[in-house]
């Protein structure tokens, strides 16, 4: 199909969201309209992936050899599908969750615009376009963080803003270098750097890669720039779930993939000091995230920390600088999205139904809301990486990649160790919650008299779907893996 259609998934939500506040609709109508809009967008996006236009579509010419252009390649399609499938579900969930909040219209306006912008990141044809949408993503999603409008939320949103803009500022440097030292800014698997042009600037180039790794990594919450993520979990759950488990942070990881495998090229970095530097960064953030998660008693913040560590799984996989690594990265990108959004939504459902935020308040709650906790436990087991759950597959891939690289650079064995350490930590911080909920100590069931029930279908549906997905992919992930392999080989 013609490449013009690529514009729709990006523009529709942005425009639609922007219009929302203008036409003052009653909530019911608005929700219906939004859901339709989102579904339509997703449909178009999936269609675009299904009948993929080879050519890109140039929105307009910026300057020199820079244009804003959209194009779907393998990696982009994967990310697009991920978002296109997850967004409608979480919108549905959001309706129920936000029912009693204020300023819902503006919330949903930005929520939808974020959809479009994320699509833009997924479909960006070149570094400049991605940079543009990357900045925009910050700007549109910052409102969502500050939406509760408490002092805390506003402070959190500011932190988020500074971190992201700062990151972008450093990413910008790499943009320049790629413009000058690359053949093109388009994403080409294997990198676009031109060795003649670089000449004797290799060391500078590597340093720049490190800078921009951190720059884009800020959104992926790599150490030491992870600070904003736990803070941002003051936001409403649909936001924390979607943005801080899928859209924003995954865009960070996605950007890193683009930067590493499609701009600088793994061969350029493999074996240099930077290679090990980034590997260590990833490991550090994994250790940090999972350890802090154990320490944290606020449920959502605990999940946020877990997100930090899990994102760095993806990053760690990338830093293997090998096709297998990219494969592992992609698979964890997808699977983690599903299971983390699942666990976040369970947390949100618990918060919404029982107003309980802290882990030690959850004793025996599972008896009251078995459905939610079943979902949570399943997602949790998947996070730990128990076989037959999706998480295991992606972790297996990461470890396999690390083992392969380890042949050449034994440092990579460390990566596997770190992986297992954090798996153990994950077990600790997830299962303590689950066990508290299912098997409370005698006399600790505080909830015998409280009226707490499972939420209504709008919340249940997404939760159930996520749980099922986790199981299904855990048991038969092969078809998906074949697609990913194709992506990695550039044959998709």
């Amino acid at each position: 199909m013609s490449s013009v259609y690529l514009v729709l998934p990006v523009v529709l939500p942005i425009v639609g969201g922007a219009l929302m506040p203008i036409l003052h609709l009653p909530d019911k109508k608005r929700n219906l309209l939004l859901e339709i809009l989102v579904l339509l967008t997703s449909a178009i996006a999936l269609l675009c992936v299904y009948r993929r236009p080879e050519a890109g579509f140039t929105l307009f010419h910026l300057t020199g050899n820079l244009d804003f252009a959209l194009r779907l390649d393998g990696l982009g399609s994967v990310f697009t599908c991920l978002i296109a499938i997850l967004w409608p579900l979480s919108t549905l969930y959001a309706f129920e969750y936000m029912r009693h909040e204020e300023r819902t219209t503006s919330f949903f306006a930005f929520y939808t615009m974020t959809y479009g912008v994320t699509m833009g990141i997924a479909m960006a044809e070149n570094l400049v376009t991605m940079y543009l949408f990357y900045e925009l993503l910050t700007l549109v999603s910052v409102y969502l963080v500050m939406h509760p409008m408490t002092k805390k939320a506003i402070r959190a949103s500011r932190t988020y803003l500074y971190y992201s803009i700062g990151g972008a500022a450093f990413a910008f440097i790499s943009l320049i270098f790629v413009i000058v030292f690359g053949d093109t800014t388009d994403f080409i698997l294997g990198g676009v750097l031109n060795m003649e042009k670089i000449g004797n600037n290799v060391s500078t180039m590597l340093f720049v890669y490190l800078l921009s790794f951190w720059g884009f990594g800020v959104k992926a919450a790599v150490f030491p720039f992870q600070g904003w993520l736990p803070k941002a979990s003051v936001a409403p759950t649909p936001v924390t779930a979607l943005l801080h488990a899928v859209a924003v942070v995954k865009s960070g990881a996605f950007a890193l993939m683009r930067l590493t495998y499609y701009c600088f090229g793994p061969d350029f970095i493999r074996g240099t000091w930077v290679h090990f530097a980034v590997m260590s960064i990833a490991m550090l953030s994994i250790i940090y995230g999972s350890t802090m998660a154990v320490k944290e008693t606020h449920f959502k913040r605990r999940l946020a920390f877990s997100t930090i560590s899990n994102l760095s799984y993806i990053v760690l996989a990338l830093t293997m600088m090998s096709p297998l690594g990219l494969l592992a990265g992609i698979s964890h990108l997808v699977f983690h999205a599903v299971m983390k959004i699942g666990s976040f939504f369970s947390a949100g459902a618990i918060l919404h139904q029982s107003k309980k935020e802290y882990v030690d308040e959850l004793d025996g709650l599972a008896k009251k809301m078995p459905f939610v906790f079943t979902v949570f436990t399943l997602c949790g087991l998947s996070l730990i990486g128990i076989p037959l759950f999706a998480g295991f597959v992606s972790k297996w891939n990461i470890a396999a990649a690390a083992m392969e690289v380890g042949e050449q650079y034994p440092y990579a064995y460390m990566a596997v160790m770190v992986l297992l350490y954090s798996a153990l930590m994950t077990a600790v911080y997830i299962l303590t919650v689950a066990i508290r909920a299912w098997f409370p100590d005698r006399g600790k069931e505080l909830h015998s008299n409280e009226k707490i029930t499972d939420p209504n279908w709008e919340m249940k549906l997404p939760l159930g779907l996520f749980a099922i997905t986790v199981l299904v992919f855990g048991v038969c992930s092969e078809p998906l893996m074949q697609v990913f392999r194709a992506v990695v080989q550039g044959t998709f």
Partner: protein
């Protein structure tokens, strides 16, 4: 093909019925009926398993998890041995529980998970390659957790968590090894004597492999309560309901042993280890555990805890037997596996009976209890003797083989040091078991015979105990065919 369906049936039947039981907790009011149903399920499963054991050796790929990972089941002597032991012990423990669980709450939950674990264990025993093994290993940990913390006292929950995290940690240590071995072509099904040596993917990475093996032994050893990761066992076993703790230390600890066997003798091959630092470390750890376990047991006053410590030491007998890496050691290990399971089940059941009937927990209180429940205590005494290893009981045989094995190794120190430690700990065993029965039968002065009244439990409880005891004794008397089977097994595992 039939084998496949039979296996699936044997595995899924208890699992599904367990899940069923969980979903409809307390719906089934008629207790007798429920118990009968549960018994039927267990019996049927046992039957199916036995039927499977009668097949020729086979391998079946159940499912392709990914392109490299297959879920694969396999029937060989090791499977027969472990599966057979499992179903027997499990069924008897279940029968005992029918009576015992009367004084616990939420028995439906207990039985539900009990059945699920049974299914998982059958899967574990049939596991045909590393990843399948790991899969069922994890599932076993998770599903047996509720058995541990069933009573939901604070201690129980904490103990449960401890059990969980130790096991998971161990499993992850092992997982590292699995990752590594897979990267070197260990994706194939098990085969006697191991196959990794012959693969060319393996060539050249000797050192790393040894390290990895050490990790895996320690990791899987966690379940078997091997030093240094034994800490969970004395905490977790006693807090569980008696039948649960019986199967926990009777069967589940052995799954660690099975895993190690599968890795060392069926994947890597004993030759890789023989004479390496790993073997020495392994032996040392085993011996340390043996001695330490019995020491602790000797010092311990709470009966169930004492038994738990004894488990720690006894299971390490088995590990020691494996670590010597020769046929006699293997035979000793396997036989001790069987005997110890039988004995330890029985002992825990006895402890359970005592708690159930009198609520007495510590050893001190047991003075003269033999008068009140003679049959029970006779079982206790007999199996204790077995465990100590006084001829002609079964324990003697296994320990004999173990000693033989360790002497054959011809590794200077260990050759004689091993048997010495075994002997020592045998004495300690005598020291911590026999006095109980002595004082229970001969309370001596100050025991008020007038208050004496019979507290013998009913048949549901007696029969399992008696059967176990019988088994322990009979094996000791006529070990011939059984040992032959073991020797055959050992022979094609270690060439």
């Amino acid at each position: 093909m039939t084998a496949m369906y039979l296996f699936l049936a044997a595995m899924l039947l208890p699992m599904l019925s367990g899940l069923f039981l969980l979903f409809f907790q307390g719906k089934l009011k008629n207790r007798t009926l429920k118990c009968i149903l549960i018994f039927l399920v267990m019996a049927l499963t046992a039957g199916l398993t036995v039927r499977l054991m009668c097949f020729e050796d086979y391998q079946l790929v159940l499912w392709h998890l990914t392109d490299k990972l297959d879920i694969l089941v396999r029937m060989d002597n090791m499977t027969r041995l472990f599966a057979g032991m499992t179903v027997t012990a499990w069924t008897l423990g279940g029968v005992f529980a029918f009576e015992y669980m009367k004084h616990e709450e939420k028995e439906d939950r207990y039985f539900g998970f009990y059945l699920i674990v049974m299914g998982v264990l059958i899967g574990l025993d049939h596991a045909g390659n590393l990843i399948t093994l790991y899969l069922f290993f994890e599932l076993m940990t998770l599903s047996s957790l509720p058995l541990v913390l069933h009573t939901l006292t604070h201690d129980a929950v904490m103990a449960g968590l401890k059990y969980l995290f130790y096991s998971v940690a161990g499993a992850f240590l092992a997982l590292f090894g699995i990752f590594y071995l897979y990267a070197h072509g260990a994706g194939l099904p098990f085969c006697e004597g191991g196959y990794l040596m012959v693969l060319d993917a393996y060539s050249g990475s000797g050192k790393m492999t040894l390290l990895v093996l050490m990790l895996m032994i320690v990791g899987f050893g966690t379940k078997a309560g091997m030093f240094p990761l034994h800490g969970w066992l004395p905490t977790a076993h006693p807090v569980a309901p008696a039948p649960a703790s019986a199967v926990l230390s009777g069967i589940i600890t052995k799954s660690g042993v099975l895993a190690i066997i599968r890795v060392v003798f069926y994947t890597v091959g004993a030759d890789v280890l023989r004479g390496s630092w790993v073997q020495y470390t392994w032996m040392t750890l085993a011996l340390i555990t043996v001695f330490m376990g019995s020491m602790m047991a000797y010092k311990e006053q709470v009966l169930k805890k004492r038994l738990a410590y004894s488990t720690v030491s006894q299971v390490s007998y088995i590990l020691f037997g494996l670590s010597v890496l020769n046929q006699d050691g293997m035979v000793g290990a396997l036989s001790h596996f069987v005997f110890h399971s039988v004995v330890k089940d029985c002992l825990f059941l006895v402890a359970g009976v005592i708690i159930y009937k009198t609520g007495k927990k510590t050893v001190k209180e047991l003075t003269g209890i033999g008068k009140e429940m003679p049959i029970t205590m006779w079982c206790f005494t007999l199996v204790s003797i077995t465990l100590v290893g006084i001829p002609p009981t079964s324990g003697f045989i296994s320990k004999w083989y173990l000693a033989e094995g360790s002497l054959q190794t011809g590794i200077g120190g260990y050759a004689w040091f091993g048997p010495v430690v075994l002997l020592l700990s045998a004495m300690l065993t005598a020291g911590y078991l026999l006095p109980i029965s002595i004082q229970s039968f001969f309370p001596g002065e100050g025991y008020h015979y007038q208050e004496l009244r019979k507290k013998e439990p009913n048949l549901l409880m007696l029969i399992p105990m008696l059967l176990f005891t019988a088994a322990a004794v009979v094996f000791g008397m006529f070990p011939g065919r059984f040992l032959g089977f073991l020797q055959m097994t050992a022979a094609d595992v270690i060439r």
